[in-house]
Amino acid sequence: VTSPHTIQRRYLREFWPPMLAYILIMLLVWPLVDHVQSVWGRTALALLPILPLLLVTRAIVRLVMGGDELEQRMNLIGLAIAGTVVGSLCMVGGFLAAAKVIRLDGTALLWVWPAMVALHALGRGWAARRYGGDWAMACSNDGLARHWQLGICAAAFGLILLLGWSVLSDWQRGLLCGLTASMTVCALLLRIIHRRKSEDDA
């Protein structure tokens, strides 16, 4: 049987390479879709980000399946909250669009998964606290601390910003600068909170 620590390390090993590939594809390759004329070429390029996302999905499924019973319960609570909130928001958006109060096109669907991930994390964090856990930890207290996760994300976005500086649009540069800076600040704040808590516990 695989230990929780090993499962966490396996998850990080399986999650980050495809996630970085996804980010790179979205920033550097996907914008080329407007320059491709053939339908098949556009379809292939448009669906290219799905490939790394499938690997990310596999990593998440293996993480959840490898968790113990309490972790699986917390994931279920997080997923229930995320599904309910996102589904309700989709209904609200759909009704408003049908009544022609707002205009929505298909690209709004791109926000479904990020919203699910964010709300799942919040719901799972809430459940973890309910069971005596810590908001600042990842999947469990044996996992990688949240400040390290945010730090890695910030470093990844910063690296992509540097590597793609010449090909990125102003909007993309601004987005990456904002993400890198905000994640770095959040990581530092969480690190300080984590350190103070450790000192209090000691």
């Binding site: 230990s3 113990d68 309490l70 930890m137 207290n141 044996d142």
Partner: protein, 82 residues
Amino acid sequence: MTHEGLARCVGRSGPALRMNNCVRELRGEQGWSQADLAGRLEVSRQTVNAIETGKYDPSLPLAFKIAKLFGRPIEAIFEPGE
């Protein structure tokens, strides 16, 4: 552990029936940390902490695993709360 000892163990009152348990005391007798026990039960430390503090009642298979690890009958470790 006696019934009186078990009665002093952790439990949580609430709308749902919760279990009382003596996992923390038994772990202390063995001189194990929560991480040690988590490793032996193949669960996370958070799960051990949640069981010890009465915030989570383990499934039947996990409860039997705990009982087997401490070499006691399951009813000597877990009992229904009031």
